[in-house]
């Protein structure tokens, strides 16, 4: 594919608001995870919570969108002036020439979970305050962002579990290439809810401790929440990075377990390299999906080594942010671009004993390192795989 300019990007995670706070945490090897309560959950685990998602207010005219997920989206739009940059793109290209393609897995379902506790005792009806379409429905975050930014172009939500907000980069690149839009707001937003907390616990994939990707004793993931946005434009005088390739594949193997040899994951990485016209040796750093479950890390390790060999520096940043599910692809795209721009390879946190069975070159300390090309993996339930490759701005 023709390299596509990333003119702006930002993220809000448990590490903080915006690029500077995130970069500082990555340099310091600081985690945003903590063993803390969330809502009414009675689950022993560590969480990556974005505190301000409790309190930030949406504008009065968009009040019907009010839910934790869209509040997170609003925090993201305010970080690093992202909303201003997107409105400027709309002024440049025309509001109808700017698309909105965002990923989420659970959208604003927390609203409906709470509403189900307040059903009318006799009729079973849900409380009148629940606005299903603007909160719970899977599309609501793109509807909110499109409305908040005054955009009029095509929009959808990609919801392919934990690959969602990586795949939107591919969708937007195709839309721009086809001449449907000139620019696109992409990224992902996912917020903590009971469905994922109790759901991952039921699958025994939620760790009671902090997640430890690539550790011998890793025993599950830690959940987080986040908003991450990027602005992709057909032309840009001062891009912050280039999207060079976006590879996608399916496992076709199992709904909730990866292909044991990582065959689908390897196919996505090779597709991304093919799109970028790069050889494996051209990549300087790989941000792993690296959830910290025994099976996921083992399969990804095999896939990474099959494609890149065992000398490519790589790490999972889920020990910093937690697994932000439908936002993870966008979050880790932003982290990868930050790493690229500032020459920082982030450490994979919380490793006490590296798993000797895993052969990839896993970085346990953050390191300054000049880079030209970075890649980011995202894999999800349903066997959905994506790999993004970004090139330096110069």
């Amino acid at each position: 594919m023709k390299p596509l300019a990333v003119s702006h990007y930002t993220l809000v995670t448990a590490l903080g608001h915006g690029r500077d706070a995130t970069l500082a945490a990555l340099r310091d090897g600081r985690t945003g995870l903590a063993p803390r309560p969330f809502e009414t959950a009675q689950v022993e685990t560590w969480l990556g919570v974005v505190e301000q998602a409790d309190s930030i207010a949406l504008s009065a005219e968009l009040a019907s969108f009010d839910c934790r997920n869209n509040r997170l989206a609003e925090l993201g739009l305010r970080a690093d002036g992202f909303g201003h940059a997107a409105r400027a793109a709309a002024a440049r290209w025309g509001a109808h020439r700017v698309g909105v393609f965002l990923g989420t897995s659970t959208s604003g379902i927390l609203q409906t979970e709470v509403a189900y506790r307040e059903r009318d005792a006799s009729s079973g009806a849900l409380p009148a305050w629940l606005h299903y379409g603007h909160t719970h429905n899977t599309y609501s975050v793109s509807a909110y962002v499109r409305a908040a930014l005054g955009l009029r172009g095509p929009a959808h939500v990609v919801s392919t579990a934990c690959s969602s907000s990586a795949k939107v980069f591919a969708a937007a690149a195709r839309m721009i290439e086809a001449g449907i839009v000139d620019a696109a707001v992409v990224g992902g937003v996912d917020s903590l809810c009971m469905t994922t907390l109790y759901g991952f616990a039921s699958l025994e994939l939620l760790s009671p401790q902090i997640c430890r990707p690539w550790d011998t004793e890793r025993n599950g993931l830690s959940l987080g929440e986040a908003a991450a946005f990027a602005l992709l434009e057909r032309q840009c005088d001062v891009p912050r990075a280039w999207l060079l390739g976006a590879g996608e594949s399916s496992d076709g193997h199992h709904m909730s377990s990866p292909h044991p040899q990582g065959a689908g994951a390897a196919q996505a990485m090779r597709a991304a390299l093919g799109q970028a016209g790069l050889q494996p040796g051209d990549v300087d750093y790989l941000n792993l999906h690296g959830t910290g479950t025994p099976g996921n890390d083992a399969a990804e390790d095999l896939a990474v080594c099959a494609v890149f060999g065992d000398e490519l520096p790589c790490s999972s940043t889920k020990g910093h942010t937690g697994h932000t599910l439908g936002a993870a692809g966008g979050v880790e795209a932003a982290i990868s671009m930050l790493a690229l721009a500032h020459g920082v390879i982030p450490a994979g946190l919380n490793v006490r004993t590296p798993d000797p069975a895993l052969k990839a070159k896993y970085m346990r300390e953050s390191r300054q390192h000049e880079m030209r090309v970075v890649a980011s993996n995202s894999f999800g339930f349903g066997g959905s795989n994506a790999c993004l490759i970004f090139g330096e701005a110069a």
């Binding site: 109808h96 429905n137 759901g199 039921s202 349903g382 959905s384």
Partner: protein
């Protein structure tokens, strides 16, 4: 403008068991008797997945198989675009119900099936396909969003893509907030412009052009009754065999004008 060919169609809806029957009924709407959608159990699914598959999975696979048999392509060879407003509503309701109890006992299968891309996941397992797949949502504009995405993929890869749109109604109490009429699913295999088949020229409109409605009032009620049925004017144009332009309901400010020839 994006030009693609339609080389296979599948349809399942109320009183509409398949695309062949539906074509005849679209031609003679008076003969259509609206009855609850009957969802076949797909033979394609392995036994373990068949037990766990919900209505959105079964209906999606039924129409995908119809569209594939029409064009003779192998399921394992096709990238897919799945689009749905709601995903699996019964599963969602039962999860919310379980999470509202003191015990909060969640079944692992129920959680696994709660992902919006469940239909795509089951399809790719059944098809033994590692081809790329995406799963979209755009509320009432979900069909138009899926059609645009699939057409743009065909343009980008110059290879056929399978589009599957499916909506399933919520049980109460969510039904009161998001009333969908019945189960409906539509599949199309789209192929590059050089292929044989009916041609679609797709354009995003920005002038609030009037949406094409169904001439028959019963079909028009179906069209507005659930998002996948927003495809009916396009299906009618494909059936009629005549050239014409339909405007499919999209998001405010971006409907899809589809010129069929």
């Amino acid at each position: 403008m994006t030009a693609v060919r339609v080389i296979g169609v599948g349809l399942l809806g109320p009183g509409l068991p398949d695309w062949a029957t539906a074509q005849a009924l679209l031609r003679e709407p008076a003969a259509w008797q609206r009855q609850a959608t009957v969802i076949p159990t797909p033979a394609r699914l392995p036994p373990a997945e068949r037990r766990r598959a919900s209505n959105v999975v079964k209906a999606s696979i039924a129409v995908a198989d119809q569209a594939l048999s029409a064009c003779g392509l192998a399921a394992s060879a096709l990238p897919t675009v799945f689009t749905s407003s709601t995903g699996d509503p019964l599963n969602c309701h039962l999860l919310c119900e379980a999470l509202a109890t003191a015990e909060r006992m969640v079944s692992p299968t129920r959680f696994t099936n709660s992902v919006h891309n469940a239909a795509a996941g089951y399809w790719h397992i059944a098809a033994q396909s590692r081809q790329p797949s995406t799963s979209l949502a755009a509320f009432d504009a979900s069909f138009a969003a899926g059609l645009l995405e699939a057409a743009v993929q065909v343009l980008s890869t110059q290879a056929p893509v399978l589009l599957v749109a499916c909506d399933v109604p919520y049980p109460q109490p969510l039904h009161a907030l998001r009333p969908l009429d019945d189960v409906m699913a539509v599949a199309m295999v789209l192929a590059p412009a050089a292929s044989a088949g009916r041609s679609l020229h797709i354009e995003v409109t920005h002038d609030d052009a009037p949406i094409t409605r169904c001439a028959d009032s019963a079909f028009e009620a179906l069209r507005t009754g659930l998002p996948a049925a927003r495809a009916l004017p396009l299906l009618h144009a494909l059936m009629a065999g005549a050239a014409g332009t339909v405007v499919l309901e999209g998001l405010p400010g971006s409907a899809l004008a589809v010129q069929v020839s």
